[in-house]
Amino acid sequence: MKMIINIASKEIKSFFVTPMGWIILALITAAFGTYYLEGVNSYFEVMSGAIRPAERVGVTIYVGQTVYGAAFFLMLFAVPLMSMRLISEERRQQTLPFLFTAPVSIVEIVLGKFFGLFAFLALMVVYIFLMLSTLNIWADIDFGYLFSNTFGLLLLVGSFAAIGIYFSSLTSQPIIAAILSFIFAFLLLGLESYFASQPNHWFHHVSLLKHFQTFSRGVISSKDIIYFLLFISTFIVLTIRRLDADRLRG
């Protein structure tokens, strides 16, 4: 456990000693800020206009939808950019022996790297939560809705991170890792749209977005939590196996 934290803290440090971490953080902050502002600005316009009273929604849901609706899409770009270097850069710079020679197991290395990235992403998710909470200054907002969205988004970025670390372990070119994990995450995210006419097709059950949508409606369902946790652990196990193959195959 201590080693996982040590490796995670090394990853977090290395995000911030290079411009990468700061740039991503700045871009994401600017983007979410814009969506938030947009949501707040248009709320009264939309709600006071032609819309029928029955269709009117609260400010939390309206602004929340604007921000969280954009969140999964922005994260789809941001996560591969952060995850691409995790292992492929170590391959490229040939620094993996440093980790393999230390008294640390491969499981700890992979989990450490995963949680390092996850902690960085969680920072952004928590930041969105805090930003939306500021609505509470002049309105009585629905914190349950925010919690459920935050929780769902954490699971979703966790899944992206797991995909990212796996593709990063396959190659020594960070940019290839980024492109592959983006494509893969993109396909999985919208899997159900390929069979939109058949609502019971199995594609619907593995689509990431489908499971995220439950959370974005404000529902925390154990079925979806289990799906995300299984998804994340699958890719982590694949990554561990890939690194172990390095030692075995050379």
């Binding site: 080693m3 040590n6 490796i7 090394k10 440090k13 290395s14 000693v17 290079t18 710079q93 040939q94 620094t95 993996l96 022996p97 440093f98 980790l99 393999f100 020679t101 230390a102 008294p103 640390v104 197991s105 030692r247 075995l248 050379g250």
Partner: protein
Amino acid sequence: MATTLKALGLTRLFGPNKAVNNVSFDLSKGEVLGFLGPNGAGKSTTMRMLTGNLAPTEGQVEICGINIIEEPKLAKANIGYLPEMRPLYKEFRVNEFLRIAAKLHNIPAKKINSSIDIAMEKCGLTHMSNRLIENLSNGYQQRVGIAQAIIHNPEIVILDEPTVGLDPIQIREIRKLIKEIGKEHSVILSTHILPEVEIVCDRVQIIDKGNLVFHGSIDDLKQQRRGNKLLVGFKKTPTLKKLQSLFDIVKIEKQEDLLHVIQFKNLDFDMEKFIQVCVKEKLGLFQVSPHITSLEDTFVQLTNK
């Protein structure tokens, strides 16, 4: 002396190629073992197996009596390793990087600062502590590589070609450093620079095409070089038969400028008697010296068998 490292029948296949074939040796405390071999002989592969970076196809590695395959964590705690491509996170400062290394090697929090200071002092890095590794010269980067290998005070330090690509002054300094490390730790050093072995190592091991072809102390290697040969200059060249009637000679090889290499049967031949007889026989003796095969020649002989 206590054995710190034991390799038993190490074999590694890459597909059908045998990179390392049945290599066994051991290492005692306070010993510097030189690992010699031409490029592609299997030095680095062996080292990767010793440090748990590569699983051997067959064979065992014991680090301080602990099997590295069965209990990798316990065994690895006793190893410091510097691969040929030094594994440095170049975006960090020297002290930041060493702090990461110290933490990964389970050094207790209270001792981290002091062990970083000691490692930097040993490697002459104290004044570079705040520099980005990226901006350091080749020689200093190599020192950081060595510092990360000794920071946890391991029993065994394994260095893969530590002096490659350095300038002569840096090489001299790194060698001095290795000798110093060798006093407290067991060191395995791989190289293809031959004089380096004589300067730094206590024991030598030559590997070729995956097989151990020589294994012995540095004196054994010198013995192999000096041997039972004399370089003799005769103005009147005697025939082999004539010489053989006078001494126990196996071979005579003609060289340039009336010089001859004479190989005696025994190592303890009597030089004084040889000269007396030559003078008596009026062979026109004008030069006698021990014939030292260069280390390169010995190496070529051993690896061409």
